[in-house]
Symmetry: C2
Subunit: 353 residues, 2 copies
DNA sequence: TTGTATGCGTTATCAT
DNA sequence: ATGATAACGCATACAA
């Protein structure tokens, strides 16, 4: 077992010098004779030295403060999962000095977001993890943080042309293509497919458009499946009478056999179909919310695409920690898997560990 | 930020005693006055002390030796992925004192397995990770390790009634049900479905039978889909003339519209279908091997179920480390997700990180 | 320019 | 029965 771990001391001995000198070389702090420096560097490379992260983090007593900006899970339960992921990461990273403060704002209420974002900024955190659901309003904060050198990680919603440390979430375009694949696979005969945006916040829904694009392009790129006609509709999620809209859409185009709901509101459609006893429509949506799961169980919803919201929170914190604590390079985008969920494999995704 | 981390020193101060005494209480090594002991225990509980794992593992210089028994990836490339997972875990855990020795045997050659298993046993490892592809032959080794108190973790192949520290892999039964769901979803009209065991090792293929059971039961439990007739066939993977067998099967029962290959050999079927220009058959199989991926890309294979073989190796080592290094409780079964893979979401599963 | 001493939290040994 | 102290590997202040 020659697998001995190389320590700074080993390098020092080999170089005929002391730990201090080696350390200065390792951290480029100068005050080292050039020939000694080169000798030490050669040995480091030869022995394939890797610093002992355990000892490093034991030594550095510094704590890092991460501010999290996230919508209230009590209002929209979707956000429970990212919060759980954040909590899990927090537990794992506490001993590495990671401290987290949560700033929970009310979804769809700009004032609430602004207040919380200001609050977070005032804390002068070492890093920010944010679900940037308010596209316009968040921009000045990005600039502010950038000017201060505070790294920020986006999750859930991708915003182009800002310059985050990292985006964590799904590839919306691919996501749409995947939905197209699933629906068309289950519908061998010519028919219409409906893309349904049940929207909460029209101006901040660029990613829904991207999904639709991916959906439509799937059929352009697969000439064999051009037997489908794709139509799309917007419904305001706060509209009292969703049913009426659905009825209008489904009766005016009676050959709709597949529906793709671009966010987590597939259960609304499922409820409508069930209430009216409409059979023979394939339904694909997003996210493992309880109402969606109920309809997945009874077969009204055929597939759900999982955005791994827990993973988004978990990896968001971890990426910040990797950057702050371990000085690692962070890739600017971390796309999480597009998991295809059915009744049969659901269990494995409910409590990922 | 009252989130201070509690140290042994803090407890000692609070109890008006020294670190040594607290340590003796924490580790139940006696030589502590009973009243002091209780006072300290109360404080530990009150302050919610949690040991600093970083300091612990820095201190403990002990190394743990894990022996891995795995088939040769040069013979069957399926095993590349578990090996990659093992390697990744090894890198992460080296600093915690985990050392791994690999014992690679030739698949389907019992002698090779026996030799390597003996070799591994002789090393007196602190733990064993094994892919128990030889059902009968491995049994005496389990008994041996059990008698010695050496924990062993099984992956890939589940064996009932042995007593491993943990099994890591898929739930074969569920896996079969999932395949049934996917095939029937894509085949709305009545037809026959073929379960194909392209087998390398008939006596050691209990899990393939379990898959078939899950597949068949799916249709029993979903009365709506009783329009399908399920047939099953075995083919010897070493048979020179697989094509002839397939031709015979597919011509004698011409209404087969879906094929479920219960292991990673779906590409064999895809090749046959392509060569003979047979269209209109849905094909589902396992594992992201390159030949499978090629046919997934060109549409001959419709879906692959991923057993996350990399994760199996990765988690296998991690579970052993959790047990050996961190004294954690290990759940006896860790089922990995049954990932549904298409061309559209393939990328995310190729290099999981 | 270089080497030495100290401390991070935990653990184990050794005096007291 | 208890407390002081050294060591793990690394970082750094300070002495030489």
């Amino acid at each position: 077992m020659k697998n001995k771990i190389i320590r700074i001391k080993d390098i020092a001995e080999r170089a005929g010098t002391s730990k201090g000198t080696v350390d200065r070389v390792l951290h480029n702090r100068g005050r080292v004779a050039e020939d000694v420096r080169e000798r030490i560097l050669a040995i480091i490379k030869e022995l394939n030295y890797e610093p002992n992260r355990i000892a490093q983090s034991l030594k550095s007593q510094r704590t890092y403060h991460i501010a999290v900006l996230i919508p209230d899970a009590a209002v929209d339960s979707y956000w429970e999962a990212p919060l759980a992921g954040i909590e899990r990461a927090e537990k794992e990273l506490r001993q590495y000095g990671i401290r987290i403060s949560r700033h929970v704002f009310t979804p769809h209420v700009v004032q609430s977001f602004l207040a919380k974002a200001n609050e977070a900024t005032k804390e002068n955190p070492d890093g920010v993890l944010i679900a940037p659901v308010f596209y316009k309003e968040v921009m000045p904060f990005f600039e502010n943080w950038k000017a201060q050198g505070t790294p920020y990680v986006l999750f859930n919603t991708q915003i182009e042309s800002v310059d985050p440390l990292c985006y964590i979430g799904q590839d919306s375009y691919r996501s749409g293509s995947l939905a197209a694949k699933i629906l068309s696979y289950g519908l061998p005969d010519p028919c219409s497919l409906l893309v349904l945006h049940i929207n909460e916040d029209i101006p901040n829904s660029a990613h829904l458009i991207t999904k639709e694009q991916g959906f439509r392009d799937y059929f352009l790129q697969n000439e064999k499946v051009s037997q489908y006609q794709v139509i799309s509709r917007d419904i305001d999620a706060f509209d009292i009478n969703i049913d009426a809209h659905l009825e209008e859409i489904l009766t005016t185009d009676p050959v709709v056999k597949g529906i793709y709901v671009t966010n987590s509101k597939a259960f609304e459609v499922a409820a409508y179909l069930e209430k009216h006893g409409i059979e023979g429509i394939k339904l694909v949506g997003y996210d493992l919310l309880q109402p969606n799961l109920d309809y997945l169980e009874n077969g009204r919803i055929h597939f759900l695409i999982n955005q791994n919201p827990l993973g988004q929170g978990y990896w968001g914190i971890h990426q910040l920690a990797n950057y702050l604590v371990f000085n690692q390079e962070i890739p600017p985008i971390k796309f999480l898997p597009l998991d295809i969920i059915t009744k049969e494999n659901l269990d494995y995704y409910l409590d990922p560990s």
